[in-house]
C-alpha cells in the first residue's frame, strides 16, 4: 500500500473527525450538564443543515457566514425547548426521556420530509471541489476550512466555560446540583442556557457539515448515534475529549476502511464504543465520576 494513500486518508480522517467532534461537543455539553439524553441531536444538526441550504439558495449566503444567524436561531430554539418541553423530564426515568426525544426526532425528521421532500440537497460553493496539492498530499479545501471553523468554535466554547461567570456557574451546576442550588444559582435558567449553547454548537457543526455531506431528512439518526459514540469515547463533560473522540473515530474509520473492507468500517466505531464502555467508561479524557 503506497504511503501517500495512507497519509492522505489519515489527514482526511482527522479533518472530518474535527467536524464530527464539534457536533459531539454540543451533545457533550448538554449531556454533561443537563444530563438529558438528547436522542434528537442528529436531527437538530440536520435542521441546521437545511437552514444553511435555504439561506444559500435564497441569499447566496456562504455557510461560514450563515453560521451567525443559524447558530443564533438554534440558541433561542434550544433554550425554549429545554425550558418548555424537556425540563419536567430531567427527573423522569431514562426511558421516558428517551421516548420523549425519539418522539421529537420523529416529528423533526418527518416535518423536514414534508417541507423539503426526500431529495438530497447541498450548497454549491466555488471552493467545494477544489483541493490544495502539497506534493502527493491532497487537502480538500472545504474540509480544511470546515475543520478550522470547528476548532475555532470549540475554542470559543471552551473560553466561555473557563472564563465567563455564566460558564463557571454552568460548570458548578454540572458538578454539584445540590451545591449549586444551595449557593443560590438559578439552575433552571442555566440548564436552559446550556441547552441553548449546545444547540448553537450543533448548528455551527451543521453549517460546516453541509460543505462535506449532502443533507436529506433521514440523515439524523446516524449522526445521533455517531455523536454518542464520540462523546462516550472522548469522555463526558470534556470538550477536548469530544474533539479527540471525533478525530479518533474519524481516523479509525478511515484506517478500517483502508485496511479492512470499507463497508465494515462502522463496525470499528461500535467495537471501540464497547471497549471504552467496559474498560474506561469515563472516556479517554473524562473525569472519573
Amino acid at each position: 500500500m503506497p504511503i501517500e494513500l495512507v497519509v492522505n486518508v489519515v489527514i482526511a480522517g482527522v479533518l472530518t473527525g474535527l467536524v464530527y467532534g464539534l457536533m459531539a461537543l454540543g451533545l457533550s455539553v448538554i449531556f454533561g450538564v443537563v444530563r438529558v439524553v438528547n436522542f434528537a441531536h442528529g436531527e437538530m444538526m440536520t435542521i441546521a443543515m437545511y437552514a444553511t441550504v435555504v439561506l444559500f439558495a435564497a441569499l447566496q449566503l456562504d455557510p461560514f457566514l450563515a453560521v451567525v444567524p443559524v447558530a443564533g436561531l438554534f440558541f433561542v430554539f434550544g433554550t425554549l425547548l429545554q425550558a418548555g418541553v424537556i425540563n419536567p423530564f430531567i427527573t423522569r426515568p431514562e426511558h421516558s426521556q428517551f421516548m420523549l426525544l425519539v418522539a421529537v426526532a420523529i416529528i423533526m425528521v418527518n416535518g423536514l420530509l414534508m417541507v423539503f421532500g426526500p431529495d438530497a440537497r447541498n450548497v454549491q460553493v466555488d471552493y467545494q471541489l477544489e483541493s490544495y496539492a502539497i506534493g502527493p498530499i491532497l487537502l480538500d479545501k472545504a474540509r480544511l476550512y470546515a475543520s478550522a471553523a470547528a476548532v475555532a468554535a470549540s475554542a470559543a466554547l471552551f473560553a466561555f466555560f473557563k472564563f465567563t461567570r455564566a460558564g463557571k456557574a454552568i460548570r458548578a451546576c454540572a458538578d454539584n446540583y445540590l451545591g449549586a442550588k444551595v449557593v443560590g444559582l438559578d439552575v433552571k435558567r442555566y440548564y436552559a442556557l446550556t441547552f441553548g449553547l449546545g444547540s448553537a454548537c450543533v448548528a455551527v457543526a451543521g453549517c460546516m457539515m453541509i460543505l462535506l455531506v449532502d443533507v436529506s431528512p433521514v440523515l439524523g439518526p446516524a449522526y445521533t448515534l455517531l455523536a454518542f459514540v464520540i462523546v462516550i469515547v472522548g469522555g463526558l463533560g470534556s470538550m477536548g475529549g469530544a474533539l479527540l473522540g471525533g478525530v479518533l473515530i474519524g481516523v479509525s474509520e478511515a484506517l478500517a476502511g483502508l485496511f479492512i473492507t470499507p463497508s465494515a468500517k462502522s463496525m470499528f466505531s461500535f467495537a471501540l464504543l464497547i471497549l471504552v464502555l467496559l474498560l474506561r467508561p469515563q472516556g479517554l479524557l473524562g473525569r472519573k465520576p
Binding site: M1, P2, L5, N8, V9, A12, G13, T16, L113, G117, P118, D119, A120, N122, Q128, L129, E130, S131, A133, L138, D140, L212, V213, D214, S216, V218, L219, A222, E253, A254, G257, L258, T261, P262, S263, K265, S266
Partner: protein, 415 residues
C-alpha cells in the same frame, strides 16, 4: 363520540371519516361494494415515503398515466387503488392484504425486493395475481409461485446484459482498456450484482479487462474519501461501478477533489447516474457517465404515446429522467389490463391464467415480447447503454435504437 353543536362542516367531515375508518378497520367490513364487471381494480403498491420515497413517486407517475393510455389502446377500464408501502416490509404486507380486502383484482409493484417478497406471499396465499414492476432479487421467481409475475430482469440478467454492452461499448469506441477497479454498494442489489459479475467475468471473451481491485462500500456512507483513494491508488483504466443515487453523487465529487480521472465510469447495471438528481446536483460533472440498464426504446410507438401522456400529467418533468420507473410500472399495469381484456373476467384465477398466456409484442421497454415462462418471469428483456450527454440520459447502444454515439474515453482522461 360526543356530538358538538355548531361544528363546522369540515370538522364534521373529519369526524365522520375518522369514525367510519376506525369502525371499518376494526370490523373489517369488506369495503364499499361497487358495480362489478367492467372495471379492473389494480392495487398499486409503491414506496411513496421512507427511504425510497423518491423512486416510488417516480413509479407512481407511470401508474397514474396508465388508465388513460390503456383505455385508448385496449378499450379497457382500469381503476387504480394506490397504497404506500413506506419502504417497510410490515407495511407492504398489511397494505397488500388491505387492498385485496378492498377488492383489488390484481396487485402491481413494489419496486424493492424485500417488499416484493412479502407481497408475493400474500398474493400467493390469497390467490390474487401480482405483477412485479421492478425488483431484481432472483429468488422471488424461484419459489414456485403460481400467482406472481415479474416483468423485469433479475440481477444475474442485468449483469449479463450489462457486461455484454460493455464489450459493445469498447468495440464501438475502438478502445480496449486493460484494467478496471470495481466499486459496489454493500446492499441487496450491490451484492447480487457483485456475485453476478464474478460468475460472468470468467465466461465472456470480449472482456479482456482484469478487475484489479474490488471495493465494497456502505450505501449510506456520507464520506467516500477512503474508497476513492483506494480506487485511485489501483491505477485502473476505468471505474466499474454499481451504485445508488446518493453515493454516486458523492463518488463523482470525490473523484474531482482527489483529481482522479480514469477513462470513464461505467455501470454494468445500477440506478443512480441516470437519475435527475444526479444531473441537478452535479451539473456538468454528470456528463459522460455510463449506465447499462433496462431502458425504454426511444423509437418505439408505445414510448411516444406514453411520453405524451406523461408530459400532459407532468408538464414540468421529463420522461427521460423517469424512464425506467415509469416504463416498467406502466407495462406491469398493461399486462394486467391485457389479461383482463382477454379473460373478460375479474376472477383471480382466470386472470392469473390469462396473464400466463400474455404475449405483448408492441411494448415500450427494450427487448423481446412480454411472455412469462413457467416461473412467472419474462425472459429477454433488453438493456441499453445509456450515457449522460448534454445533461440528459441518452441511449448510445445498441446502435439500432441509439440516438447518439458513445463517448469513451471521456474528455477528462489523459492517456
Amino acid at each position: 363520540m360526543k356530538a358538538q353543536t355548531g361544528t363546522s362542516p369540515v370538522r364534521r367531515r373529519v369526524l365522520k371519516a375518522a369514525a367510519a375508518s376506525a369502525a371499518l378497520s376494526t370490523i373489517g367490513f369488506p369495503g364499499i361494494v361497487r358495480a362489478q364487471g367492467t372495471k379492473l381494480k389494480v392495487g398499486v403498491l409503491l414506496p411513496r415515503s421512507g427511504f425510497q420515497g423518491l423512486i416510488g413517486q417516480s413509479c407512481q407517475k407511470g401508474a397514474d398515466l396508465a388508465p388513460g393510455v390503456i383505455k385508448e389502446m385496449l378499450g379497457v377500464d382500469i381503476e387504480l387503488m394506490n397504497a404506500d408501502t413506506e419502504t417497510n416490509v410490515d407495511t407492504a404486507r398489511t397494505r397488500a392484504e388491505r387492498l385485496i380486502q378492498e377488492g383489488a383484482h390484481v396487485l402491481v409493484g413494489p419496486f424493492d425486493s424485500g417488499g416484493a417478497a412479502a407481497i408475493a406471499q400474500v398474493a400467493e396465499q390469497r390467490g390474487v395475481p401480482f405483477v412485479i414492476n421492478i425488483a431484481a432479487a432472483p429468488q422471488i421467481t424461484e419459489q414456485g409461485y403460481k400467482f406472481v409475475f415479474r416483468n423485469f430482469q433479475t440481477a444475474p440478467d442485468i449483469v449479463r446484459n450489462g457486461l455484454a454492452l460493455i464489450g459493445d461499448l469498447f468495440q464501438a469506441s475502438n478502445i480496449a482498456p486493460r484494467t478496471a477497479v470495481f466499486m459496489h454498494v454493500n446492499d441487496t442489489f450491490g451484492m447480487a450484482m457483485a456475485k453476478g459479475i464474478s460468475a460472468f467475468m470468467g465466461r465472456l471473451t470480449q472482456l479482456p479487462f482484469k478487475i484489479v481491485d474490488t471495493i465494497q462500500y456502505d450505501p449510506a456512507a456520507r464520506d467516500l474519501t477512503v474508497e476513492v483513494s483506494k480506487a485511485k491508488a489501483s491505477n485502473a483504466d476505468f471505474l466499474l461501478l454499481v451504485c445508488r443515487l446518493n453515493d454516486a453523487i458523492i463518488l463523482r465529487r470525490e473523484m474531482v477533489k482527489q483529481r482522479w480521472n480514469p477513462m470513464g465510469i461505467v455501470s454494468p447495471g445500477s440506478p443512480g447516474m441516470y437519475e435527475e438528481q444526479y444531473f441537478k446536483t452535479l451539473g456538468k460533472l454528470s456528463e459522460y457517465s455510463i449506465s447499462n440498464v433496462p431502458w425504454y426504446n426511444p423509437r418505439a410507438e408505445l414510448t411516444k404515446v406514453v411520453e405524451k401522456a406523461f408530459l400532459k400529467q407532468n408538464p414540468k418533468d421529463k420522461l427521460v429522467f423517469n424512464g425506467l420507473n415509469v416504463g416498467f410500472t406502466f407495462e406491469a399495469i398493461l399486462v394486467a389490463a391485457d389479461a383482463f381484456r382477454r379473460a373478460r373476467s375479474t376472477d383471480a384465477k382466470t386472470l392469473a391464467d390469462a396473464i400466463r398466456q400474455t404475449n405483448i409484442t408492441s411494448k415500450m421497454m427494450l427487448g423481446g415480447p412480454i411472455k412469462f415462462n413457467e416461473k412467472g418471469q419474462v425472459e429477454g428483456i433488453g438493456s441499453a447503454c445509456v450515457q449522460n450527454l448534454n445533461l440528459t440520459p441518452t441511449v448510445v447502444l445498441p446502435a439500432a435504437v441509439a440516438t447518439a454515439k458513445p463517448v469513451f474515453p471521456w474528455p477528462y482522461y489523459k492517456a
